[in-house]
Subunit: 329 residues, 2 copies
């Protein structure tokens, strides 16, 4: 059962953050911006990759993702005065994120944190914080899009968000409904896979990475490998055999051809592949030209349903952890 | 049998390229540099990641890696006049690389290509090309280090390379000899693994990525997953069980603690792990302070021996391909 009201109101509430996001971004823009840095680790790192990929299509700003643990060790001398650092943390207590934000602050960086737990000490550390559960990718894209509007490379900003505000919450729930039968059969077919490959490109690369590692590995305890569609043809293809389970995530941004190329190749050598193409989902009310900006949310809606059926079929509770925050390391 | 003379002379010849590399870099530096872009795909992409990670420890320059297929689709508006683009290609015919170099040229970028095949059309397309077989990472690091010397963040450049010129070729061959017995036992233990995990950080992350994908998958047809040590604790750890084969590559750069953390964790939950620590290899003649700059070459020397034993034990020819450049896709 899809809890329609809850899901619609979750996305609607996230979209309603836009006024506050605009205030924060506008102030940063006015003060002057040297570069825009997205900080994450694990699942939030994947969201950073998505935001950067989204911006690269248009922006001339210097924008990049940095992994919190790498920043804490190697550092990054591009991060300093004039940097705006954006991150998201559900708990607000992830060790690497807290340490990285402290380090960035000491380097004179302005920080915007989406911290779902308003009580976390981290919330007091940042220049601006926004507390609202879930919808991390949508939050990041709203920040990215506002910066791009200021830069003058997103003239459709107002019209696009007017449409998202009106139609996106219901449209994404409709995706879950459309995907429901597929998701059940996919979960049935692959719930016992010894190793499942996920391939994707563009803003969906982050989705393949986090879906493989943060959902299947961490939450379902199923082994995966995620690979960028650009890289698939430079190594991984050689271990694809007739029965190898491979799923290709195809989106609608500029890197769509990279996913399509993998989808064209697979039938030649494999009979156990699946293509999930966001284009197959209707998104009523959303113009074709705005779909690239939300195709990662469409994929997330599809995988939500797969997760639901994996839980139903395997009985494995997604909140169960063997080691994470359970033993010292 | 390790062909000592051949290996020593290969590294010696690569180091001898430094004069020509300096000429090229010096000219770029004099003309003015906006940013430094490393272009690759597959194995060469991994080398780009290594070069960028190496530079990040010290440099304030804007430097980044870009995947050729991503650049050809999404593009990158930071790449243009004032960009110096560096790449390596053995064949000089890799489709994505050729297309990306053409696109960069059209954007007004200066290009330096290490193209092992001097006859390739690509060699005529670049502003500067250097033809010498193998040693891709060493070539890249020589470029990176010369830029960092100009920037004033590598005062030890002359002294370090004087030592490398004198001792590095023999020191790396000595690593292969020191690693030989270990490499045989490792190959024996893991040649039948259904899935092997490689974990690494810093300049060794590129090594784990390419060793997993370009060596084990593409050349040995053995399944792997490579994961950054920073990311290991945010998902992958949950699927490590007592018998899961996991190998940690530990280097000597600033991210060493990230690899060490994984190495400390594994014995708590797994009995089938291996730690390969570059620090265990002597490198006679090389000062401790210069080891971080070459630890990736040490790891490469170790994995060379593993490859040799995998071939000997499995009889699988590393030049065999199922699909790559064999079927259309």
């Amino acid at each position: 059962m899809i809890d329609i009201c809850k899901k619609v109101s979750s996305v609607r509430g996230a979209l309603a953050l836009r006024g506050r996001i605009e205030e924060i971004v506008d102030q940063v823009w006015e003060e002057g911006l040297k570069n825009l840095c997205w900080l994450g680790i694990g699942g939030t790192w994947a969201s950073c990759l998505q935001a950067v990929c989204h911006m690269k299509e248009r922006s001339r700003l210097e924008t990049f993702a940095i992994n919190a643990a790498e920043y804490c060790t190697t550092g990054d001398r591009r991060i300093g005065a004039g940097t705006c650092l954006i991150f998201s943390s559900v708990s607000g207590t992830t060790k690497e994120i807290v340490e990285a934000v402290e380090k960035a602050k000491a380097a004179g960086v302005r920080t915007l944190g989406f911290i779902d737990n308003a009580e976390a000490e981290l919330a007091a550390l940042v220049d601006a914080s926004i507390t609202y559960p879930g919808n991390e990718q949508l939050k990041f894209f709203m920040v990215a899009d506002r910066f791009m509007q200021h830069e003058g490379v997103m003239p459709e900003y107002d019209a696009m968000y007017a449409q998202f505000d009106q139609y996106l919450p219901e449209a994404l729930v409709a995706v879950e409904q459309e995907a429901d039968a597929f998701a059940r059969s996919f979960a049935e077919a692959h719930m016992r896979d010894a190793l499942h490959y996920f391939v994707g490109a563009g803003t969906l690369y982050g989705a393949t990475y986090s879906y493989g590692m943060c959902y299947w590995e961490e939450m379902h305890w199923l082994r995966t490998k995620s690979i960028h569609a650009a890289e698939f043809f430079h190594g991984m293809l050689e271990i694809v055999e007739e029965d190898t389970p491979v799923t290709v995530f195809i989106g609608e941004d500029a890197q769509r051809p990279l996913g399509e190329r993998v989808a064209r190749f697979l039938p030649k050598v494999c009979r156990n592949y699946t293509v999930i193409d966001t284009k197959d989902y209707a998104l009523p009310g959303i113009d074709a030209q705005y779909r690239p900006a939300v195709c990662h949310l469409v994929m997330h809606a599809v995988t939500n349903r797969i997760d639901a059926y994996l839980v139903e079929l395997t009985g494995h509770d997604m909140s169960l952890r063997r080691y994470y925050r359970k033993i010292e390391y």
